[in-house]
């Protein structure tokens, strides 16, 4: 009916509109996708390095850039400090940049993202490492092979680790004195640990909680699983990697090394996993530890430094944090994580990953090498905000001002317990972490919840691991 109302002129006009719209749509469809990089001035030809904003102090970042410029005046470098609350948040923001077409050339990636980046985005560093082997001998001699192995994926190396943190146990020395307890021995057991918590509790008021922990992948329930000789996902080693081990490590240090870790079958209902959760539930029940909260433990420094918490798991990063919070060097100390079936520790490491999309891969490799130099790390890690991956940097002088007295524990964790390994972080790490945190929260939220929560965790982990990310 409407057609009969159209005049020939109107028909021609609407036809012209339609043709115009079709032409526009066709042009848009055939045009290359516009991205953030197309914004004039956005791509200034710099090598773009994305770092976790809070990882380095501004002065450290300036020193990093200036030092690289002196060494390579022909390579322009720009640091893109991404503000994020944790690694998961950081990766989310990097992926947003990639989606926007403004992918950096290098990304600072921790253990949590090593395999995810390696599988989808990363470039193996093997050919450059082989080429510059002579130059890198000194680096590998200074870095523990466990840290290097944690940066390998299916036989290839994707990052040079420059920092790490193992989950050791921090103790408030004031609380220890108040409880009349001695500093624990290096080979202390889980029973010793429980007895110490009871003693601390007895000697303190109702506002005191002996043990504090945060529900997260690093330093949450996982160290207790490691001490129990188990893991959330069955762990094995990928074949390969001998090209690296044979070139850089003596026989006794490369024994048992492979081409990186594989985390495959979920085992949340394994007896030892259940036992570790039951143990933590009993601590909650007896008022010896906090119910775990999500997050990055930002309120922990305050309660630990004021003596409202006696013990907590943390890495070398906390030495600087407690010092900044005003704690004296002798106000706290650190010991290895207590033994149960084993005294295997967990750690997380970090280094720069080179993205496939980078058009400046050779320049990026130069930056990776530069960032792993001893003097570069010395400029970056001035406040003990982490544990340098280079053993030679852990000295009495470094910890004289901040403490702790037993600072050697940080690196000796790797030597004393050679099976110490990275937190389980397969390419499906985001979903695995979410499942872990979710069900750990439920398991410890009410009495008798451990069994059902772990059964649900097992089911969810199986689904997560089946998914091809």
């Amino acid at each position: 009916m409407t057609d009969s109302l159209l005049s020939r002129r109107a028909l021609l006009r609407y036809g012209a509109y339609g043709a115009g719209a079709a032409a526009l749509a066709g042009t848009a469809a055939s045009w290359d996708r516009l991205t953030g990089a197309d914004i004039p001035g956005r791509d200034d030809g710099s090598l773009v390095v994305a770092t976790l904003g809070s990882a380095f102090a501004p002065a450290g970042v300036r020193a990093l850039v200036d030092g690289f410029r002196r060494l390579h005046p022909d390579i322009k470098v720009r640091i893109n400090a991404v503000q994020a609350v944790d690694w998961s948040d950081f990766f989310a923001k990097i992926l947003t940049q990639i989606a926007a077409g403004t992918a950096p050339d290098l990304v600072y990636v921790a253990t949590e993202g090593v395999q995810l980046f390696a599988r989808h985005l990363g470039v193996p560093l093997d050919r450059w490492v082989r080429r510059d082997a002579a130059e890198l001998k000194e680096y590998f001699a200074d870095v523990h092979p466990s840290l290097v192995e944690s940066m390998m994926y299916e036989g290839s190396l994707y990052q040079l680790p420059i920092e790490f943190n193992a989950a050791d146990m921090y103790l408030n020395t004031r609380v220890l004195r108040r409880a009349g307890a001695d500093f624990p021995a290096a080979d202390w057991t889980r029973d010793d640990f429980t007895a110490l918590l009871r003693r601390m509790k007895k000697a303190s008021d109702s506002h005191f909680t002996p043990y504090f922990w945060t529900n997260r992948l690093w330093g949450g329930v996982v160290p207790w699983l490691f001490a129990n000789g188990t893991n959330l996902l069955a762990e094995s080693k990928a074949p390969g990697g001998s090209w690296l081990w044979d070139s850089f490590y003596p026989a006794d240090r490369r024994r048992g090394r492979g081409g990186g870790f594989r985390w495959t079958t979920p085992q949340a209902t394994d007896d030892r996993v259940v036992e570790a959760y039951d143990y933590l539930a009993s601590l909650v029940h007896d008022g010896l530890c906090t119910r775990p909260e999500g997050g990055n433990g930002q309120n922990l420094i305050g309660v630990f430094s004021t003596g409202r918490v006696g013990v907590t798991p943390a890495g070398g990063f906390w030495a600087g944090g407690l010092h900044l919070a005003g704690m004296r060097a002798d106000g706290f100390d650190v010991q290895y994580f207590p033994r149960r079936h084993t005294q295997r520790h967990q750690f997380g490491a970090a280094g720069y990953a080179l993205l496939r999309t980078s058009k400046k891969q050779d320049e990026a490799w130069e930056f990776i090498k530069y960032s792993a130099r001893r003097e570069t790390l010395g400029e970056l890690f001035t406040t003990n905000q982490t544990t340098p991956a280079r053993r030679s940097m852990l000295t009495t002088a470094r910890y004289r001002e901040t403490g702790p007295a037993h600072w050697r524990v940080f690196y000796d964790t790797l030597d004393r317990f050679p099976d110490t390994g990275p937190i389980p972080a397969p390419p499906q790490v985001a979903e695995v972490t979410q499942v872990l945190l979710k069900h750990t929260g439920t398991a410890l939220a009410s009495p008798g919840a451990v069994g059902p929560a772990l059964r649900r965790m097992q089911g969810d982990l199986e689904k997560a691991m089946e998914r091809d990310v």
């Binding site: 989808h120 985005l121 909680t209 906090t290 985001a430 945190l437 979710k438 929260g441 410890l444």
Partner: protein
């Protein structure tokens, strides 16, 4: 203005009558139309670019598998089938609806109660102080507030449990038990958001002619009776606006549960928008995230439509 007013009937006539189709607009009329189009263009372009395109984009993306890194692949309705079998998604919709009911009810009741109180006898300066104080949380960042509240509601070291302890009561697991966590998220959300409804109600109350209240008083209506019979019916249009905005905002809650509880313990405070964020930016499943977004959009539209339908019965315009 007059021009436009006189020509609108002419356009209607043309549309209604076949014979009028041949009437051509004058040059002046075309100029007026062009001017109107120019004035409207920025808004229309803004809506198209920032509202219509993203909505259409989300719907299209929900039919694809896409992880940002690799090229998208057509998935048909697979993403929708996946999310309907995903217990986390279903729980998040339940949580969001529960949250919406409690948060919006509390928000409206508190805002209305305070607006009525402030509408009573009170020095003008004190009224200004209260108005500013109630509105102030709304201008603060929800994330910052949530960080502070997380400290306050900490079971072991928080000020709230310390205060409770002064009365000899046991510490409450505000953030680490299922019911406690949802209650805390509602409390923090309402504390921040009620200022908006409060301002609407203050404006609405000021628009009610005093004569009506005086007439009601002459008829013997006082106190609660006066509010139920006179104030509330006259305030019902404002109530409708406040509830529509409140429900839409509540259905999109994100910052408070994300910072306070990260959706836990378990999934007890995981909301729909949190699931969208997690699926897209943590799990790289942008197609599924978009499908959840489309469902949320449909839910919001349905709830809002229902509200407007019900409003025909309950809302009174003077």
């Amino acid at each position: 203005m007059t021009d436009t007013g006189t020509r609108i009937p002419a356009v209607r006539t043309r549309a209604a009558s076949p014979g009028a189709a041949a009437v051509r607009p004058s040059a002046r009329e075309r100029g007026t139309r062009l001017l109107a189009a120019l004035f409207l263009a920025p808004t229309v372009v803004g809506i198209v670019v920032f509202t219509v395109v993203p909505i259409v984009g989300s719907v299209v993306l929900s039919l694809f598998h896409w992880n940002v890194i690799d090229a998208p692949g057509f998935a048909g309705t697979a993403n929708y089938r996946e999310i309907f079998s995903d217990s986390t998604v279903l729980v998040s919709f339940r949580n969001t609806l529960v949250f919406m009911v409690f948060a919006v009810a509390a928000q409206l009741l508190i805002a209305l109660g305070l607006a009525l109180t402030l509408n009573g006898r009170m020095p003008a300066w004190l009224r200004s102080v209260f108005r500013s104080a109630f509105f102030f949380p709304l201008v603060l960042s929800a994330a910052s507030i949530s960080v502070v509240m997380k400290y306050l509601f900490n079971q072991d070291f928080g000020v709230v449990n310390w205060l409770i302890g002064l009365f000899g009561l046991a510490p409450v697991p505000w953030l680490t038990s299922e019911h406690g966590a949802m209650a805390t998220v509602v409390i923090v959300y309402v504390w921040q958001q009620f200022g908006f409804s409060f301002l609407l109600f203050v404006g609405g109350l000021n628009n009610i002619p005093k004569e009506i209240h005086e007439a009601a008083a002459l008829d013997g209506a006082t106190g609660l009776r006066k509010h139920l019979a006179v104030t509330l019916p006259l305030l019902s249009p404002t109530l409708l606006v406040a509830s529509v905005v409140g429900i839409i905002n509540a259905l999109q809650v994100f910052e408070q549960p994300y910072v306070l509880t990260d959706g836990g313990p378990g999934d007890s405070t995981r909301t729909v928008v949190m699931v969208i964020y997690e699926k897209a930016f943590e799990q790289l499943r942008f197609g599924e995230a978009s499908a959840v977004g489309v469902l949320l959009f449909v839910l919001i539209m349905a709830v809002t439509a229902l509200q407007f339908r019900l409003s025909r019965r309950f809302v009174h315009y003077q």
